[in-house]
């Protein structure tokens, strides 16, 4: 993906710890709706948004899962995380949604350079 309007949205915060995940996903969805090629990269606690068995409702807060489910409809099909991120939380890829791909640690800097714009949430 090297188009001049390609956007990488980085999600680094967990679903119910702040509103950053929700507002980051909103930015990704709007960019996709405007026709920008958008990929999502989940780092740190942000990777918990990718857990397959996430509940669809949380106590008193709007659930994240329906928004995650919507990504594909907006052609945001590439969900990325890194090996380091999974290792840090003792997670394996089998616990995550099916369409998650891994960036190898040493390839992360090159991966990020593929995008003309990066927004960090």
């Amino acid at each position: 993906m090297e188009e001049s309007n390609s956007l990488l949205v980085i999600i680094r915060h967990a679903p119910y710890s702040s509103n950053l995940l929700r507002e980051g996903l909103d930015a990704a969805l709007v960019a996709a709706a405007f026709g920008h090629p958008v990929d999502l990269l989940f780092l740190g606690q942000g990777v918990t948004a990718l857990l397959k068995k996430q509940g669809s409702g949380a106590p008193g807060m709007k659930a994240t899962r329906p928004t995650m489910d919507m990504l594909e409809m907006y052609d945001i099909e590439q969900l990325w995380t890194s090996e380091e991120t999974l290792e840090a939380l003792s997670l394996t890829r089998s616990k995550l949604r099916d369409n998650v791909q891994l960036v190898q640690a040493q390839k992360m800097p090159a991966f990020m350079k593929n995008y003309s714009q990066i927004l960090n949430f």
């Binding site: 950053l20 507002e23 930015a27 709007v30 960019a31 405007f34 927004l119």
Partner: protein, 129 residues
């Protein structure tokens, strides 16, 4: 160069708005253009005309408004992020049946699309959060 700024920190909670303002003034002093500032996430509170800090503290809302007056910098506030946090223009207050409002010109409520437009138009978009 043409710059845009994305501000996501709240006034008096995060140092981000102060850093963004200093950055804005410095880049204008160097002869760069600053086309707009987009306020998102907790940054929407920068637009509140009801903030009333003590006299020895900078009134951030006023500081942004002065930046607009001096340099015609647009001050766009994400409408979705603002409404859910109680930052409303007169029109939105009416629409939602509220008795008061706290967002006035030169701040404007806009959609997130405006952030993408700013990003496309500018050579650089710098985030302060």
């Amino acid at each position: 160069m043409e710059y845009g700024l994305l501000v996501m920190g709240a006034p008096y909670t995060s140092p981000a708005p102060h850093s963004a303002l200093r950055f804005a003034h410095a880049l204008l002093a160097q002869g760069h253009q600053l086309s707009g500032v987009f306020f998102y996430h907790e940054g929407v509170h920068n637009a509140s005309s009801l903030m009333a800090p003590p006299q020895d503290e900078l009134n951030l809302r006023e500081a942004w408004a002065e930046l607009h007056q001096a340099h015609q910098v647009s001050l766009d506030v994400c409408i979705a992020a603002a409404l859910r946090r109680g930052v409303l223009s007169e029109a939105e207050a009416k629409r939602h049946g509220k008795t008061s409002f706290n967002l006035e010109a030169p701040f404007e409520l806009t959609g997130l699309g405006q952030l993408l437009t700013l990003q496309q138009r500018c050579d650089r978009l710098i985030t302060f959060a």
